[in-house]
């Protein structure tokens, strides 16, 4: 018994040493004391990982928060990837929603700080410029709180994002790229993550039409568009209307090691997500007061498309009509 404990001690010491060299957090999942069934507890250096310097922002979706280990990390690099460039609305929207969540929950006055949006010039031509009148009502980013840095080369964009992350006085830095450039490797993401961690400031990396590849970001989310819920009116949901933004999000890398797919509606009043139902489990949960139990809501689901789960399948990109079109 004692020898085992000694060995474990040694393993931890080594792990800590490695973490020191790598500059990453030594994290592990501990078996929760309350028994199976309850959420896993994240421990860091033996302490519960909810102290200062490890602050998370709740997204508002309980299952996603649980899978994320409490919420989105404030001081970290978060990767938001989309499969196709034409999904740029959903991917950009989700990334900005994360930025809004992170700057919303911060200490007083944090929301007053601007967001720096670094992007490559060809991305602006491809997916369009950010449109300030749309950003404010959706994500609470006032026009004078947005700075756009347009880079011609990836190196320049990375440099600008790193410098902004190092400065630490933006509420968030958004770096937008397309595809899997060779220069954005593990080292580059690690540098971004380190800068974000040191400055205590979130960096959101948007990758359009990207294949999953190794990343140093503790969280990676694959975002696809999802049919929006119907618009709520006093007389109930309005048929055939387009409601708040909705995303089908697959958590493909997280600190807890738990993955899953979630369909989230964005509440632009509270700047929080509302979970529709976890797609993997195929059952309806009451995400918030109304919604799931609402018959109109269900009707909308069957009306809009065959199955919400399909929205997150990889085969989405290759629907027959698109193949014909291409």
């Amino acid at each position: 018994m004692a020898r085992m404990a000694m060995a474990q001690e040694k393993v931890f010491a080594l792990r800590r040493e490695i973490a020191k060299i790598e500059g990453s957090l030594p994290e592990r999942l501990a078996v929760p004391e309350a028994g199976p069934g309850s959420e896993p507890v994240l421990r860091r250096y033996g302490r519960l990982a909810s102290g200062a310097g490890f602050s998370v922002a709740e997204t508002g979706a309980p299952h996603l928060d649980a899978a994320l280990g409490g919420g989105i990390l404030r001081a970290a690099l978060t990767e938001v990837a989309g499969r196709e460039t034409r999904d740029s609305g959903a991917v950009t929207g989700f990334a900005l929603a994360l930025a809004a969540i992170v700057s919303r929950g911060g200490e007083g006055g944090r929301t007053a700080r601007p967001i720096l949006w670094v992007c490559l010039a060809d991305m602006l031509a491809e997916a369009g410029f950010p449109h300030a009148p749309g950003l404010e009502p959706f994500f609470g980013i006032a026009p004078d709180k947005l700075l756009l840095a347009r880079a011609g080369r990836l190196e320049d964009a990375l440099w600008a994002a790193e410098e902004a992350a190092r400065l630490g006085s933006f509420s968030a830095t958004v770096l937008e790229l397309r595809g899997n450039p060779a220069k954005l490797d593990l080292t580059a993401t690690r540098r971004l993550h380190l800068r974000a961690r040191e400055a205590g400031q979130p960096v959101v990396l948007i990758r359009h039409s990207a294949e999953p590849q190794p990343t140093a970001a503790p969280t990676r989310l694959l975002v696809s568009p999802a049919s929006s819920p119907l618009r709520e009116t006093l007389a109930g949901p309005l048929p055939r209307s387009i409601g708040p933004p909705a995303f089908a999000v697959t958590l493909s890398k997280s600190r807890t090691g738990r993955n899953g797919t979630f369909v989230l509606d964005w509440n632009s009043h509270d700047f929080a997500f509302q979970e529709r139902w976890p797609v993997g489990e195929r059952r309806l949960v009451r995400a918030s007061g109304r919604g799931a139990q609402d018959p109109g809501h269900l009707a909308a689901a069957s009306f809009d498309g065959p199955d919400f789960a399909s929205a997150a399948r990889a085969g989405l990109a290759l629907k027959p009509e698109r193949r014909r079109a291409g």
Partner: protein
């Protein structure tokens, strides 16, 4: 020998000493010259290249004085007022300029005088003394031919035909009859040369209000060395800026290469700066962006940092405990650095204006411009916004769409070669063109928010109406989250 075309014949424009020794003269026909000496080498004159050469020489002469002006095709004026002592006096400076230019392989003549006219004459026609002291213009000018006065060809021939061949003959002559007969210009030129009338030269480059420079005995070439020197120069400038109560909005670094080429690097700031470290940082970014395109050759032997544009510097009292912790300051500094590295228009901020057209409603303007002038529309005074996309395509992209009912939303559309089937649509929202802004108003647009079968949400519009002469066209303009 250089030839040029004059009156439909190739004539000699310029020649070197050896050709001169053969008895050839400028203005002689090339055919004649070839007949006399079949093996002379003739080169076609290239005025553009001559001009470029003269300009690069002028750049090089910047090291002696900031006031350098081009004079015709083959001359340079250097205003060295207040500069001569830096080079050990007027004579030493003249000798130094001549020596260095001769080393570069130029056959150069130079003279120094109190007036540009006198210097021009002395450089071309003085026999021995090339430095004409103030007050000595008259005796120096008197024995020179009339051409020394920079006269028009016609005037000169006219004067010579009445027997006036030397300037001396004009100096004492009554001015009024001269002006009447040969034009006002003659008298002006004469008086300019004598210093009776002020003549200004027009420098090629605007003179910087402040500059600091450093001559180097040993040329430098590496970026690090340049950056170190920039820091030293910026420290020198700081005192001057402080004395004037100003900060720099635009800085120019001139690098003079040993072999005469001059590189200029411009850096702009969004708010007045005077901190040497900040300035050095900006140049660091600029230089690292230029890496590769900045050719040090054999090295730079003179660096000059000038403040091209200044602005009043507002001194703010800083918190004793916190030190300088101005966020705005930080943002503008970062923006300046990004701009220095990525280019002038790299950092943009949205600017809203009162308009219904989405592309006019919000536009991006370079960072820093806004701070100087207009203020964005404040959120309080804005009317409630309609639902707007978060991304707007720079130009609306035409799509092929089919609608169920003529004025209704599209049923399906093809954008960038992919087909989208519309599941739900909201609209239309009619936006007319702004006739009060445009001479020729564009067609009315009907905007629809649509969601396709996969949940992508787009903003489409139909331009024009059904039943009109031109069929309505569909465009995709924005993307919703």
């Amino acid at each position: 020998m250089v030839s040029h075309r004059q009156n439909n014949a190739q004539r000699i424009a310029a020649l070197d000493e050896r050709a001169e020794a053969l008895g050839l003269k400028p203005g002689m026909g090339i055919a004649d010259a070839r007949a006399m000496y079949p093996d002379v080498e003739v080169i076609e004159a290239d005025p553009d290249k001559d001009r470029l050469l003269l300009e690069s020489l002028a750049d090089w002469c910047d090291r002696f004085t900031p006031l350098v002006a081009l004079d015709g095709r083959d001359g340079l004026f250097l205003d060295i007022s207040g500069c001569a002592h830096l080079f050990g006096g007027e004579d030493a400076m003249l000798a130094e300029i001549l020596r260095r230019l001769t080393h570069q392989g130029f056959d150069v003549r130079a003279a120094l005088a109190s007036t540009p006219g006198m210097a021009w004459a002395a450089a071309r026609y003085a026999k021995a003394d090339r430095n004409v002291p103030a007050g000595q213009e008259e005796p120096a000018l008197a024995p020179m031919p009339l051409a020394a006065l920079r006269l028009e060809e016609k005037t000169r021939i006219g004067l010579e035909s009445v027997g006036l061949r030397y300037v001396g003959a004009l100096i004492d002559a009554p001015r009024a009859p001269l002006a009447r007969r040969f034009g006002r210009m003659l008298v002006t030129r004469l008086e300019q040369a004598l210093g009776l009338v002020e003549e200004a030269i027009s420098p090629r480059l605007p003179v910087a209000p402040l500059s600091a420079e450093r001559q180097l005995a040993e040329p430098i070439g590496t970026t690090e060395e340049i950056e170190q020197l920039v820091l030293i120069l910026a420290r020198t400038l700081k005192h001057d800026l402080e004395r004037r109560g100003e900060g720099a909005r635009r800085l120019l670094l001139s690098l003079f290469r040993v072999d005469g080429a001059v590189a200029r690097i411009m850096v702009g700031t969004s708010r007045p700066q005077r901190e040497p470290l900040t300035i050095a940082k900006l140049f660091h970014e600029r230089l690292s962006a230029l890496e590769g395109s900045l050719d040090p050759g054999y090295g730079f032997d003179l660096l000059r940092l000038s403040v091209a544009v200044t602005a009043p510097f507002e001194v703010e009292q800083t918190d004793l405990a916190e030190g300088v912790c101005d966020e705005e300051e930080e943002f503008s500094l970062l923006a300046d650095r990004i701009r220095a590295r990525l280019g002038e228009g790299a950092v943009l901020v949205p600017v809203l204006s009162e308009s219904h057209l989405p592309e006019r409603r919000a536009r991006f303007a370079p960072f820093g411009k806004k701070a100087a002038g207009q203020k964005a529309v404040s959120p309080q005074t804005r009317p409630a916004e309609k639902i707007r996309p978060i991304r707007l395509l720079e130009k609306p992209e035409p799509v092929e769409a089919s609608a169920e009912v003529p004025e209704g939303p599209p049923l399906s559309f093809r954008w960038r070669r992919a087909l989208y089937r519309v599941a739900r649509a909201e609209g239309p929202e009619r936006i007319s063109s702004e006739w009060w802004r445009e001479d020729k108003p564009g067609p009315t647009r009907d905007y629809f928010r649509v969601e396709d079968m996969d949940g992508r949400r787009y903003w489409l519009y139909r331009e024009g109406f059904y039943g009109e002469k031109a069929a309505p066209r569909w465009f995709l303009h924005g993307i919703f989250p």
